[in-house]
Protein backbone atom coordinates (compact mmCIF):
# COMPACT_ATOMS: atom_id res chain seq x y z
CA UNK A 1 0.00 0.00 0.00
CA UNK A 2 1.40 3.43 -0.89
CA UNK A 3 2.55 5.59 2.00
CA UNK A 4 -0.21 8.08 1.23
CA UNK A 5 -2.82 5.49 2.12
CA UNK A 6 -1.00 4.53 5.29
CA UNK A 7 -0.66 8.16 6.32
CA UNK A 8 -4.37 8.65 5.76
CA UNK A 9 -5.09 5.65 7.96
CA UNK A 10 -2.82 7.05 10.66
CA UNK A 11 -4.47 10.48 10.47
CA UNK A 12 -7.93 8.94 10.69
CA UNK A 13 -6.89 6.92 13.75
CA UNK A 14 -5.25 9.81 15.58
CA UNK A 15 -8.09 12.21 14.73
CA UNK A 16 -10.66 9.74 16.02
CA UNK A 17 -8.70 9.35 19.25
CA UNK A 18 -8.79 13.11 19.68
CA UNK A 19 -12.49 13.31 18.84
CA UNK A 20 -13.30 10.61 21.39
CA UNK A 21 -11.22 12.40 24.01
CA UNK A 22 -8.83 9.48 24.36
CA UNK A 23 -6.03 11.93 23.47
CA UNK A 24 -5.84 15.64 24.08
CA UNK A 25 -3.78 18.54 22.74
CA UNK A 26 -0.71 17.42 24.68
CA UNK A 27 -0.31 14.46 22.30
CA UNK A 28 -0.24 16.81 19.31
CA UNK A 29 2.53 18.73 21.09
CA UNK A 30 4.51 15.49 21.38
CA UNK A 31 4.02 14.73 17.70
CA UNK A 32 5.35 18.17 16.84
CA UNK A 33 8.51 17.41 18.79
CA UNK A 34 9.27 14.47 16.49
CA UNK A 35 11.37 15.26 13.48
CA UNK A 36 14.14 13.78 11.32
CA UNK A 37 16.66 14.20 14.15
CA UNK A 38 14.34 12.34 16.56
CA UNK A 39 12.21 10.09 14.33
CA UNK A 40 11.36 7.66 17.10
CA UNK A 41 10.49 10.15 19.83
CA UNK A 42 6.76 9.48 19.98
CA UNK A 43 7.30 5.71 19.89
CA UNK A 44 9.89 6.02 22.66
CA UNK A 45 7.60 8.06 24.87
CA UNK A 46 4.69 5.71 24.27
CA UNK A 47 6.89 2.73 25.16
CA UNK A 48 8.07 4.38 28.40
CA UNK A 49 4.52 5.37 29.27
CA UNK A 50 3.18 1.86 28.68
CA UNK A 51 5.97 0.17 30.66
CA UNK A 52 5.48 2.50 33.62
CA UNK A 53 1.70 2.34 33.45
CA UNK A 54 1.63 -1.44 33.52
CA UNK A 55 4.03 -1.54 36.43
CA UNK A 56 1.86 0.94 38.32
CA UNK A 57 -1.36 -0.91 37.50
CA UNK A 58 0.19 -4.14 38.80
CA UNK A 59 1.23 -2.41 42.03
CA UNK A 60 -2.23 -0.91 42.42
CA UNK A 61 -3.79 -4.34 42.00
CA UNK A 62 -1.54 -5.74 44.73
CA UNK A 63 -2.12 -2.78 47.02
CA UNK A 64 -5.88 -3.01 46.78
CA UNK A 65 -5.75 -6.74 47.41
CA UNK A 66 -4.45 -6.25 50.93
CA UNK A 67 -6.62 -6.68 53.98
CA UNK A 68 -5.67 -3.20 55.14
CA UNK A 69 -5.30 -0.64 52.39
CA UNK A 70 -2.44 1.83 52.52
CA UNK A 71 -4.37 4.68 50.90
CA UNK A 72 -1.46 7.16 50.79
CA UNK A 73 0.60 4.55 48.96
CA UNK A 74 -2.23 3.83 46.53
CA UNK A 75 -2.66 7.57 46.01
CA UNK A 76 1.04 7.98 45.30
CA UNK A 77 0.86 5.39 42.54
CA UNK A 78 -2.24 6.98 41.04
CA UNK A 79 -0.55 10.37 41.23
CA UNK A 80 2.34 8.97 39.19
CA UNK A 81 0.03 7.50 36.58
CA UNK A 82 -1.98 10.71 36.40
CA UNK A 83 1.24 12.64 35.84
CA UNK A 84 2.54 10.53 33.01
CA UNK A 85 -0.85 10.17 31.34
CA UNK A 86 -1.21 13.93 31.45
CA UNK A 87 2.24 14.34 29.92
CA UNK A 88 1.51 12.08 26.95
CA UNK A 89 -1.96 13.47 26.39
CA UNK A 90 -3.81 10.35 27.55
CA UNK A 91 -6.88 12.28 28.59
CA UNK A 92 -9.27 9.47 29.49
CA UNK A 93 -6.62 7.77 31.61
CA UNK A 94 -5.83 11.06 33.31
CA UNK A 95 -9.48 11.77 34.08
CA UNK A 96 -9.93 8.26 35.46
CA UNK A 97 -6.93 8.83 37.72
CA UNK A 98 -8.38 12.08 39.01
CA UNK A 99 -11.53 10.22 40.03
CA UNK A 100 -9.42 7.45 41.54
CA UNK A 101 -7.54 9.95 43.73
CA UNK A 102 -10.84 11.22 45.03
CA UNK A 103 -11.63 7.74 46.36
CA UNK A 104 -8.15 7.51 47.87
CA UNK A 105 -8.72 10.76 49.73
CA UNK A 106 -12.00 9.39 51.06
CA UNK A 107 -10.31 6.09 52.07
CA UNK A 108 -13.00 4.34 50.04
CA UNK A 109 -11.77 0.84 49.21
CA UNK A 110 -14.70 -0.13 47.04
CA UNK A 111 -14.47 3.14 45.17
CA UNK A 112 -10.76 2.55 44.62
CA UNK A 113 -11.35 -0.96 43.32
CA UNK A 114 -13.97 0.35 40.89
CA UNK A 115 -11.72 3.20 39.87
CA UNK A 116 -8.84 0.83 39.19
CA UNK A 117 -11.12 -1.16 36.90
CA UNK A 118 -11.96 2.02 34.99
CA UNK A 119 -8.33 3.13 34.76
CA UNK A 120 -7.28 -0.32 33.52
CA UNK A 121 -9.99 -0.30 30.84
CA UNK A 122 -9.04 3.16 29.67
CA UNK A 123 -5.36 2.29 29.65
CA UNK A 124 -5.76 -0.95 27.67
CA UNK A 125 -8.08 0.76 25.19
CA UNK A 126 -5.43 3.42 24.69
CA UNK A 127 -2.64 0.88 24.46
CA UNK A 128 -4.35 -1.08 21.71
CA UNK A 129 -4.79 2.12 19.70
CA UNK A 130 -1.18 3.12 20.33
CA UNK A 131 -0.09 -0.29 19.02
CA UNK A 132 -1.98 0.25 15.77
CA UNK A 133 -0.57 3.78 15.53
CA UNK A 134 3.00 2.61 15.97
CA UNK A 135 2.55 -0.24 13.49
CA UNK A 136 1.31 2.24 10.89
CA UNK A 137 4.21 4.59 11.64
CA UNK A 138 6.71 1.77 11.27
CA UNK A 139 5.21 0.73 7.92
CA UNK A 140 5.30 4.34 6.70
CA UNK A 141 8.91 4.73 7.75
CA UNK A 142 9.84 1.42 6.11
CA UNK A 143 8.21 2.45 2.81
CA UNK A 144 9.84 5.86 2.88
CA UNK A 145 13.24 4.34 3.58
CA UNK A 146 12.73 1.98 0.64
CA UNK A 147 11.76 4.86 -1.68
CA UNK A 148 14.91 6.74 -0.78
CA UNK A 149 17.13 3.88 -1.94
Amino acid sequence: MATGGLKDQLDVLVNSMHREGVLDEQFRQLQMLQDSSNPGFVAEVIALFCEDSERILAELGKSLDQAVIDFPRVDAYVHQLKGSSSSVGAQHVKLACIQFRQFCEENDKEGCVRALHVVRNEYYNLRSKFEIMLQLEQRIQAYEAKLQK
Binding site: Q26, Q29, L30, M32, L33, N38, F41, E44, V45, L48, F49, D52, A76, H79, Q80, K82, G83, S84, S86, S87, V88
Partner: protein
Protein backbone atom coordinates in the same frame (compact mmCIF):
# COMPACT_ATOMS: atom_id res chain seq x y z
CA UNK B 1 18.83 35.59 46.11
CA UNK B 2 18.09 38.31 43.56
CA UNK B 3 14.62 38.55 42.13
CA UNK B 4 16.01 37.97 38.61
CA UNK B 5 17.54 34.68 39.76
CA UNK B 6 14.44 33.61 41.65
CA UNK B 7 12.39 34.33 38.54
CA UNK B 8 14.58 31.84 36.74
CA UNK B 9 14.59 29.31 39.53
CA UNK B 10 10.92 28.54 39.33
CA UNK B 11 8.82 26.43 39.00
CA UNK B 12 6.93 23.78 40.70
CA UNK B 13 5.41 21.43 38.30
CA UNK B 14 2.29 20.04 39.67
CA UNK B 15 1.30 16.67 38.51
CA UNK B 16 2.91 16.65 35.13
CA UNK B 17 1.42 19.30 32.89
CA UNK B 18 4.64 19.68 31.10
CA UNK B 19 3.81 22.53 28.80
CA UNK B 20 2.99 24.95 31.52
CA UNK B 21 5.93 24.67 33.86
CA UNK B 22 7.50 28.03 33.20
CA UNK B 23 6.00 31.11 34.79
CA UNK B 24 7.16 34.69 35.17
CA UNK B 25 8.62 37.00 32.61
CA UNK B 26 11.31 34.83 31.08
CA UNK B 27 11.67 36.41 27.61
CA UNK B 28 12.93 33.24 25.98
CA UNK B 29 10.03 31.06 26.93
CA UNK B 30 6.81 32.96 26.29
CA UNK B 31 4.25 31.17 24.21
CA UNK B 32 3.67 27.50 23.75
CA UNK B 33 6.66 25.23 23.16
CA UNK B 34 6.47 23.30 19.91
CA UNK B 35 4.60 26.06 18.12
CA UNK B 36 6.77 28.43 16.11
CA UNK B 37 9.57 27.31 18.37
CA UNK B 38 12.12 29.05 16.13
CA UNK B 39 10.82 32.35 17.50
CA UNK B 40 11.59 31.26 21.01
CA UNK B 41 14.97 29.60 20.55
CA UNK B 42 17.52 30.56 23.15
CA UNK B 43 20.33 32.58 21.64
CA UNK B 44 22.73 31.73 24.45
CA UNK B 45 22.57 28.07 25.37
CA UNK B 46 21.02 27.64 28.76
CA UNK B 47 21.30 24.67 31.10
CA UNK B 48 18.26 23.40 32.93
CA UNK B 49 17.83 20.87 35.68
CA UNK B 50 14.72 18.72 35.40
CA UNK B 51 13.72 17.11 38.68
CA UNK B 52 10.88 14.63 38.50
CA UNK B 53 10.47 11.08 39.73
CA UNK B 54 8.54 10.25 36.56
CA UNK B 55 10.81 9.34 33.64
CA UNK B 56 8.09 10.00 31.07
CA UNK B 57 7.80 13.56 32.35
CA UNK B 58 11.58 14.01 32.38
CA UNK B 59 11.94 12.73 28.81
CA UNK B 60 9.21 14.94 27.45
CA UNK B 61 10.33 18.09 29.22
CA UNK B 62 13.90 17.39 28.14
CA UNK B 63 12.77 17.22 24.51
CA UNK B 64 10.75 20.43 24.77
CA UNK B 65 13.80 22.15 26.24
CA UNK B 66 16.06 20.73 23.55
CA UNK B 67 13.83 22.23 20.87
CA UNK B 68 14.33 25.57 22.56
CA UNK B 69 18.10 25.02 22.46
CA UNK B 70 18.22 24.46 26.20
CA UNK B 71 20.40 21.63 27.48
CA UNK B 72 19.17 19.72 30.48
CA UNK B 73 20.27 17.35 33.19
CA UNK B 74 17.88 15.13 35.09
CA UNK B 75 17.32 14.12 38.66
CA UNK B 76 14.75 11.70 40.01
CA UNK B 77 14.18 13.42 43.33
CA UNK B 78 15.16 16.38 45.48
CA UNK B 79 18.14 14.55 47.00
CA UNK B 80 19.66 13.85 43.58
CA UNK B 81 19.07 17.47 42.64
CA UNK B 82 20.92 18.60 45.76
CA UNK B 83 23.76 16.16 44.99
CA UNK B 84 24.02 17.56 41.47
CA UNK B 85 24.18 21.11 42.81
CA UNK B 86 26.86 20.18 45.34
CA UNK B 87 28.72 18.45 42.52
CA UNK B 88 29.35 21.90 41.11
CA UNK B 89 26.85 22.10 38.28
CA UNK B 90 25.49 25.55 37.56
CA UNK B 91 21.98 25.89 36.17
CA UNK B 92 20.07 28.72 34.59
CA UNK B 93 16.70 27.23 35.46
CA UNK B 94 15.30 24.38 37.52
CA UNK B 95 12.04 22.56 36.85
CA UNK B 96 11.07 20.72 39.97
CA UNK B 97 8.16 18.47 40.73
CA UNK B 98 6.66 19.07 44.13
CA UNK B 99 5.82 15.50 45.16
CA UNK B 100 8.66 13.00 44.87
CA UNK B 101 9.95 10.05 46.87
CA UNK B 102 13.13 10.39 48.96
CA UNK B 103 12.97 14.18 48.94
CA UNK B 104 10.20 16.47 47.71
CA UNK B 105 10.69 19.65 45.74
CA UNK B 106 12.80 22.27 47.43
CA UNK B 107 11.43 25.22 49.27
CA UNK B 108 12.80 28.51 47.93
CA UNK B 109 13.51 31.11 50.58
CA UNK B 110 14.23 34.66 49.56
CA UNK B 111 16.48 36.71 51.82
CA UNK B 112 17.39 40.34 51.68
CA UNK B 113 18.65 43.09 53.91
CA UNK B 114 15.97 45.31 52.38
CA UNK B 115 12.52 45.26 53.84
CA UNK B 116 10.79 47.75 51.56
CA UNK B 117 7.24 46.63 50.86
CA UNK B 118 7.51 47.04 47.11
CA UNK B 119 10.72 45.04 46.94
CA UNK B 120 9.27 42.29 49.08
CA UNK B 121 6.16 42.15 46.89
CA UNK B 122 8.32 41.89 43.78
CA UNK B 123 10.35 39.16 45.39
CA UNK B 124 7.25 37.18 46.37
CA UNK B 125 5.77 37.65 42.91
CA UNK B 126 8.86 36.03 41.42
CA UNK B 127 7.72 32.78 42.99
CA UNK B 128 9.66 32.24 46.18
CA UNK B 129 7.92 30.38 48.96
CA UNK B 130 8.87 32.74 51.80
CA UNK B 131 10.76 35.95 52.40
CA UNK B 132 12.94 36.78 55.40
CA UNK B 133 15.07 39.78 56.18
CA UNK B 134 18.72 39.40 56.93
CA UNK B 135 20.52 38.65 59.10
CA UNK B 136 19.34 35.06 59.62
CA UNK B 137 20.33 33.66 62.98
CA UNK B 138 20.03 30.07 64.14
CA UNK B 139 16.67 30.71 65.81
CA UNK B 140 15.12 32.14 62.67
CA UNK B 141 16.66 29.41 60.55
CA UNK B 142 15.24 26.71 62.82
CA UNK B 143 11.81 28.31 62.44
CA UNK B 144 12.15 28.44 58.68
CA UNK B 145 13.41 24.90 58.33
CA UNK B 146 11.46 23.03 61.00
CA UNK B 147 8.73 25.42 62.01
CA UNK B 148 10.09 25.45 65.55
CA UNK B 149 8.56 28.16 67.70
CA UNK B 150 11.32 30.67 68.38
CA UNK B 151 9.87 31.40 71.82
CA UNK B 152 11.03 27.95 72.93
CA UNK B 153 14.66 29.11 72.79
Amino acid sequence: MGSSISKKIKSVSGSGTMTHNVEGNLPLLKGSPGQDSDNFTSKNKLLALVVDDNRVNRRILGMFLSKLNVDSLEAENGQQAVDIFFGGASFDIVFMDREMPVMDGLKIIGVSANNEKEEIAEFMASGINEFHTKPLGSVKLATIIWGIDSSSF
